[in-house]
């Protein structure tokens, strides 16, 4: 099971010294004729040598990373992987996905099994500082909430005093809920089950009075309920949960590529560039747009990529609004604070300048 997997990953961490060094040498040999700057970035070298980006995703969270009926990964987080692949390899489809549980995700990244973790991961101090990771960008602002049965007449978190609450291990939900209940002098009994499907079923079966998770995920859970109308997501948010892709901190160039791939899709929305209009943008006179599509300034080369990296992200994956409309909006989730700053949200990213 998952534990076995963790064991293997732990062993891999130990063994990574020998194999990692060899792999680096091998890939350096393959890409030797390229610019000298590439040797500074083992991750990009590895991605190019392999021909695909290894991306860690969830085992199935609707709207963020989930297999569709045709066996294709879809979602807001999946689009981050696809954007990176479009920027680095020229094709958004060149991604190999590894589904990971909350418990496995960081070890998979640390042991080098994946290049980037794009999986509803809350950025926290401890993860940023202690795990040797870096969170280059934030692609979704969420918060911990609760779903309850309407019949239970629970209106607010206060009403959950003494309740049994289902949750998943390894999520920030566990300490967040414990803190909130302690602060407000409330008690609860946790039921902790690792797999999302099983913990959701336990809640549906009535084992728990409430299920606590990030609110976007709760909306997806509610949509999957036997009768969604019987459940309600409480309006209160008990903690902040900004999500972002994570990478290892030891490769500065790779961090920049991931960061600007996310920023590119948000900037594209701000500039009014979408997958439908991006072709026309090549002839634009707007200096911001010209820099974006790579007609001037050569920002791509500074990243170790070609001039059209951002153009390809928008052309193949679309801008942030398109990703949202395609994956998250159908779940009935409001864009809320995840609007652009111009529209009253908090999405405010540095410009390509």
């Amino acid at each position: 099971m998952t534990i076995t997997r963790l064991w293997i990953l732990c062993l891999a961490l130990g063994a990574a010294a020998c194999s990692g060094a060899e792999r680096r040498e091998a890939s350096a040999a393959v890409t030797a004729p390229r610019a000298a700057v590439l040797s500074m970035t083992p991750t990009v070298d590895g991605v190019r040598a392999r021909g695909f980006v290894r991306c860690g995703v969830s085992t199935g969270i609707a709207g963020f990373s989930m297999l569709d009926a045709r066996g294709q990964w879809q979602g807001l987080d999946v689009d981050v992987c696809r954007a990176i692949a479009a920027a680095v390899l020229g094709e958004a489809a060149k991604v190999r996905y590894t589904p990971l549980t909350t418990a496995q995700r960081f070890t998979a990244l640390q042991s080098g099994e994946i290049d980037v973790l794009s999986r509803n991961t809350t950025v926290t101090f401890q993860r940023d500082v202690q795990l040797g990771m870096e969170f280059p960008a934030i692609n979704w602002y969420d918060g911990t909430g609760f779903i309850v049965r309407k019949a239970s007449k629970v209106q607010s978190v206060e009403d959950l005093n003494g309740a049994t609450i289902c949750m998943q291990p390894g999520s920030t939900t566990e300490p967040d809920v414990a803190d909130y209940f302690r602060k407000h002098n409330l008690t609860f009994t946790p039921v902790v089950i690792e797999r999302l499907e099983e913990v959701t079923n336990a809640y549906f079966a009535g084992r728990c009075d409430a299920f606590s998770q990030d609110r976007s995920l709760l909306a997806a859970v509610r949509a999957r309920a036997p009768s969604p109308a019987e459940h309600v997501v409480l309006s209160e948010v008990v903690s902040k949960a900004p999500f972002g892709p994570g990478v290892m901190a030891n490769d500065g160039r790779w961090i920049e590529i991931v960061r600007w791939s996310v920023y590119a899709s948000i900037n594209a929305e701000e500039l009014g560039l979408s997958s439908k209009t991006i072709d026309r943008a090549l002839d634009s006179d707007d200096p911001d747009v010209r820099r974006f599509v790579g007609t001037t300034d050569g920002f791509g080369a500074m990243l170790g990529l070609d001039a059209q990296w951002a153009f390809r992200i928008v052309k193949q994956v679309g801008n942030y609004a398109e990703s949202f409309e395609r994956h998250v909006a159908p779940l009935g989730i409001d864009r809320g604070v995840n609007r652009l700053w111009k529209d009253g949200g908090v999405l405010y990213v540095p410009a390509l300048r």
Partner: protein
């Protein structure tokens, strides 16, 4: 003789050297990747809650205490499981050899079905079954103060009182979301104990059957011939001799049960593995957390094995050198 010792020393030092090299290299890798290491986290507050068990716990307690709570929960499930599995296994083993067709067939079917399906599946089955019980307001109430619903089994518990007669009985009562007061058995705990006991009892049953068959047929026949009833023959002649054959393989089954209890993670019982899992995730220190769990499981397993070996020794002495 000296040559064998030399060889053994050589092999041992190679093994130790490899282990040390792996450990050193891991430490170097962790540092190079900026991943925190060490056991400092053990004295930090855990920050998460654990369902009520034998030991009290709150989110302000340390990771050490959280892991201790997990260990106590694991040991509690294992001990209860071992007792039930042994009793059930003994019955099954005897039933397998019964001359009554229906008894031996039922026992055989039970053994074949449980032995040949995965334990994880069985645990999920028992857990799902507990969830089929009625909801708290419609709880079954077979005896006064005893309630059974899908949130668990709620029983009256003795409590100390100030006045005469000092001991009182606290009955569970339906308050808010569920029953409060008295004592309770959670469905996760029940499913785990039932699942582990029934699964392991099948193996122990086979061990017992083997043990009985290892005792010569003549022994039972002679006992009956001197006037003992069949039950007495089994109780005083066959089983004591079978015990010697049964103990070593039964010890194996006890150890299996103890280790299998880590499957609790799948049904949400807060055992050692489940708490380790959460600790690992909250701290991100996978190697330390897993190593710690490994050491604890190993220590408990070895103690259990040592205890059984002592018992086996005393049984052998008592039984003479047959």
């Amino acid at each position: 003789m000296i040559r064998t010792i030399r060889w053994q020393l050589a092999v041992a030092s190679v093994v130790v050297a490899i282990a040390a090299a792996i450990a050193a290299q891991t430490a170097v890798n962790l540092r190079a990747r900026g991943i925190a290491s060490g056991f400092d986290f053990l004295s930090r507050p855990a920050g998460f809650e654990i369902a009520r068990g034998l030991l009290s716990f709150s989110s302000r307690d340390t990771y050490t205490r959280a892991l201790l709570v997990g260990l106590v929960n694991t040991v509690r499930v294992s001990l209860l499981g071992i007792v039930i599995a042994t009793s059930l296994g003994l019955l099954v083993g005897i039933a397998r050899l019964s001359e009554i067709w229906i008894v031996s067939t039922v026992a055989r079917t039970y053994v074949e079905v449980t032995r040949n399906t995965p334990l994880l599946l069985q645990l999920l089955f028992w857990y799902t079954l507990t969830q089929g019980l009625p909801a708290a307001p419609e709880a079954l109430n077979p005896l006064p103060g005893v309630y059974l619903c899908f949130r668990g089994l709620f029983l009256p518990a003795p409590i100390w009182r100030h006045g005469f007669p000092w001991i009182g009985l606290e009955r569970p009562a339906l308050v808010g979301f569920g029953f409060q007061g008295g004592t309770s058995v959670s469905p996760e705990f029940a499913a785990l104990v039932i699942g582990l006991s029934i699964y392991t009892a099948a193996f122990i049953g086979e061990t017992v059957r083997g043990g009985i068959m290892a005792v010569g047929r003549g022994q039972a026949e002679a006992a009956v011939a001197v006037g003992l009833s069949r039950l007495h023959a089994l109780r005083f002649v066959v089983l004591p001799q079978a015990l010697r054959v049964v103990i070593p393989p039964a010890t194996n089954q006890f150890l299996n049960l103890f280790k299998n209890s880590s499957l609790a993670v799948a049904i949400g019982y807060p055992d050692l593995m489940s708490i380790t899992n959460t600790t690992l995730n909250q701290t991100g220190q996978a190697i330390e957390a897993i190593a710690l769990a490994m050491v604890v499981y190993l220590a408990v397993s070895l103690s259990l094995a040592a205890g059984m070996s002592l018992y086996n020794g005393s049984v052998l002495r008592r039984g003479g050198g047959a």
